[in-house]
Amino acid sequence: MTAVRPLILVGTRPEAIKLAPVIAECSRHPREIDAEVCLTGQHRGLLTPFVDYFDIPVHHDLKAIRSRQNLSDLTARMLKRITKLLEEVKPDCVVGQGDTTTVMAGALAAFYLQIPFVHVEAGLRTYDPTQPWPEELNRRLVSVAASLHCAPTPLAAEQLRAERVAAERIHVTGNTVVDALLETVRCSRP
């Protein structure tokens, strides 16, 4: 069987921290997985030290951030650039994490192109669209568009089932931030 080719989207610092363990794990299975990583360019200045620290291989950099742009401009630019990239790369799936503009635009772009979207840290809810804003809306939209929902906890999985997300597409995996934390603590022992 040919290797699975996921495209992994990384926008902000928390996404770099939480997807770094996934990217590292992909590289441990080179015959089965051929992952590519795309930085979308949200918070670029803040992101570089994290990308360096976690040794994240960067295959694509969309540089979608502009100073003083509003959320509509950011979303529109992100959607266009991610779509163009997906048309070029033709990945087997798109992977995004959490509740940022990156994951929302990525899920929508993948949905339009009928590419499966894997949502890491799926099912978190406050049920108040203004808290946190705009993240609560982002993650709810992603849950509608995604094909595979990696819920960090049984509660998150339960919340997705309550929204009638197909149970066989929901998996409780734990939160990857704990992977990143424990690995960093291990490395920092003198």
């Binding site: 363990p21 978190l124 490395c187 920092s188």
Partner: protein, 190 residues
């Protein structure tokens, strides 16, 4: 992961002025907490630093100018409040392992701290991460100045109450989430 950057020694050296005193780690930059909420949190930290000169308060400040302005105006003149430029991930992990408790509006820190047995007080009114609230390892304290002072001061002054807030296990993960997620991707589980 760049192991040499993770080493504990340089961080303890960089933060030598903390000595072996108790330390409260602070972070805060969410969009919906800016303005009055952030101002109230900063004033609470000011009250706490004045009331407890034997405790050090460490606050890595986000680059967002509207955050920096408030934080610097309210907190820059106190000898036991240390405002830092944004720190790299391994340094932040070191600060988390070194601190006594954490005051934050971050989601990721709520998920990480239970693994380090550090109590977290969340300066928000809602959270999508309710799993750790039950065990009291994480508590929502909102953005009311007097209430934040009362709760933080209470935990600093009562080691029995503090010990009850130390999580026995982390409900958010066991450090093997990436393994499970990548297994799903490898088997094209969508």
């Amino acid at each position: 992961m760049k192991r040499e950057q993770g080493r504990a020694r340089p961080w303890s050296k960089k933060h030598a002025r903390l000595g072996d005193r108790r330390m409260v780690l602070v972070t805060g930059h969410r969009r919906e907490s800016l303005g009055a909420g952030l101002e109230a949190v900063c004033l609470a930290i000011r009250d706490l630093a004045e009331r407890r000169p034997e405790v050090e308060f460490v606050y890595p400040v986000h680059l967002n100018p509207s955050v920096g302005e408030t934080v610097n105006r309210v907190l820059s003149d106190l000898p036991n409040v240390h405002l830092l430029r944004p720190v790299a991930y391994p340094e932040f992990v070191w600060l988390m392992t070194r601190c006594h408790l954490i005051l934050t509006d971050s989601g990721g820190i709520q998920e990480e701290a239970p693994s380090l047995r550090k109590p977290v007080l969340v300066t928000r009114n809602t959270t999508e991460r309710t799993e750790a609230l039950e065990g009291k390892a994480v508590e929502l304290v909102g953005t009311d100045r007097a209430h934040i002072v009362e709760v933080v001061d209470g935990l600093l002054g009562d080691d029995v109450a503090y010990a009850r807030r130390q999580a026995d296990e982390n409900p958010y993960g066991d450090g093997r989430a990436a393994e499970r997620i990548v297994r799903l991707i490898r088997s094209r589980a969508w």
